[in-house]
Amino acid sequence: MNFYAIRAIYLFEMARTWRTLLQSIVSPVISTSLYFVVFGAAIGSRISEINGVSYGAFIVPGLIMLSLLTQSISNASFGIYFPKFVGTIYELLSAPVSYLEIVVAYVGAAATKSTLLGLIILATASLFVPLHIEHPVWMVAFLLLTAITFSLFGFIIGIWAGNFEQLQLVPLLVVTPLTFLGGAFYSIDMLPPLWQKVSLFNPVVYLVSGFRWSFFGISDVNIGISLGMTLVFLAICLVTIWWIFRTGWRIKA
C-alpha cells in the first residue's frame, strides 16, 4: 500500500477545499439557511406537524441530505475531472499507485469535505429550530455512508464527463430532481398511493427516510430497507469503479 500517495492526494484535495473555502463550505451553508427561512419559518409555520414533529425540524434531515448528496457528487467529480481537463492526470497515471489508493484518496477527501459540510449545516439548523437526535450513532453512520457512496458516484461522473457541461448534467438533471422528489420536504405518506409506489424507485427516498429516522425515530420506509438500499447503491458504485479501472475506460488510451 502506497500510504504516502494516499496522504499526498488527500491533503492536496483538502488544500483545494480550504483554498476555495467560500465556494466549498460557505455557499452551501448560506443556501441551506435560506431554505430554513423560506420553508421552515415562512411557509412552515402554516403547515401542521408531521408525525408529531414540527415542519421546521422535519425538513432538517432532508436538507442535510440534499447538501450532502450534491456536495459529495460535485466535490468528487470535480476532483478527478479537473486533472483530466488540465492534463495533470499524467502524473497520477505514471505514479506507483493502485486504483484502490486513488479511489480511497479522492473519495476520502470528497467525503470528508461533505461530511464536514453536513455537520456545519446541522449546527446551522440548530440555530433555527430546536433539534433532538434520537439515534446519534446511526445519524453519523448514515451521514458517512451517504457521503462515501455519493462521493464514489461523483467520482464515476468525473471520470465519465468529457466536458464541464456533462459534469453538471447528472447533478442537475438527475440528482436534484430525485432529491426534491425523495421526501426531503415532505413525508411520502402525504402523496397519492400511486406516487407513493413510484417514489419507492427513488433511491434518495431511502436515504432521507433512514436519516430522518435517526433524528426522530419516524420513517417512511423500514430502517433496515433504508440501510440495505444504501448499501446496494454503494456496491453498484464500487463495482462500476472497479470496472472503470480494470478497463482504463475514459482514462487511458
Binding site: Y90, L93, S94
Partner: protein
Amino acid sequence: MPQPSPYIAKASSTRLSFRVLICCKRVLANHKKLLAMQPAISVSNLSKTYASGFTALKSIDLEIKHGEIFALLGPNGAGKTTLISIICGIVNPSSGTVLAEGHDIVKDYRAARSRIGLVPQELTTDAFETVWATVSFSRGLFGKPANPAHVEKVLKDLSLWDKKDNKIITLSGGMKRRVMIAKALSHEPQILFLDEPTAGVDVELRRDMWEVVRRLRETGVTIILTTHYIEEAEQMADRVGVISHGEIILVEEKAELMRKLGRKQLTLQLQNPLETLPPELASQGLELAEGGHELVYTYDTQGERTGITGLLKDLNDAGIRFRDLQTKQSSLEEIFVNLVRKQR
C-alpha cells in the same frame, strides 16, 4: 585414533574462510556486472494500436543502457510520445513487454514506476498550487516519505528556490517547465524521460537545463529525451535512436552514427570559374557549384582513401588553381533528415 593436529585444523579453517571471502567477492563482482549489463529500459515487441485504428507503434525493440543519455529522434507523429507514454504507464500497450530496471511495467508497476520520472511535452501544472507544494506532492505520490532537504536541493538546482512560495499560475512558461522537471526529480528517479524539454524555451534556460541533465547523468541517472532541436541531441546524447512511422529504424552510438552516415564535403573556391568539368576530372564525384566558381568534392569518411591527395594532384595537372578550400562534416540533422526521407 590419532588426533588431527589443532594447527592443521586452524590452517584449514583459515583457508576456508579465505575461500569464502574470495567467493563472496566474486558473487558481488558478478552482481555488479549483471546490474551493469541489465538495461535500464528493455522494450521488446511493443505494439500499440489506438481505438481509432491508428497504429502508433509497430513491434518495437529497444534497449537503453544504464546511465546513458539516449536521444529519441523522429518526425511529428512518429510514435515518440506514445512509446514514452507506454513505458511510463499512461497508455496501455496493445502487445509486447517493457522492463524498467528489470521490472515489468504492467505486472510489477510499482517497482517500475517508482524508478521513473517523466517530464511530458505539454505544460500541465496545478495552477493554484505553490511550487513547493506541487513538488512535495509529487514526491508523496511516488511513495517517498517527505524530505524537505531533497526538495530544496532540486529547487535550487533548477533555480526555482526563490519562487518556491509562488503560485504556479504566476510563473513564466520557462519557469513552469522547470517546475515540471522538479516534480519529475522529486522522488529521486533512476530513469528520467524528457519529452521535448526545450520546446518553447529560451536559450539561457535551455543551457541551464542541459547543465542539469549533465549533472544528473554524472550521478548515474539514465536519461531518455526527445527533441526537435537535433543539434541538442548531437551535443548531449551518447546514443541516438530514430523512430519513423512507428518503427525504430536505427539505434547507434552517436559518434559511430556520425562516422558511418556522416559525409564530408571539400569545397574549393576557384581562381577562375569553370564552365564545365574537364573530362579527366569528371569521374571523381566532383560537382561544380556557385556558377562554376566552386568545386565540391563529396567523400566518405569511412573509406580507406578519401582520394583528396589524388584529386589535388589531378587539379594541379589540369592547371586548375584555387584560392581557398574548406571541409564540412554533415550534421546529425542532415543525417536524420536523409534517414527519414529514405523511409518514406
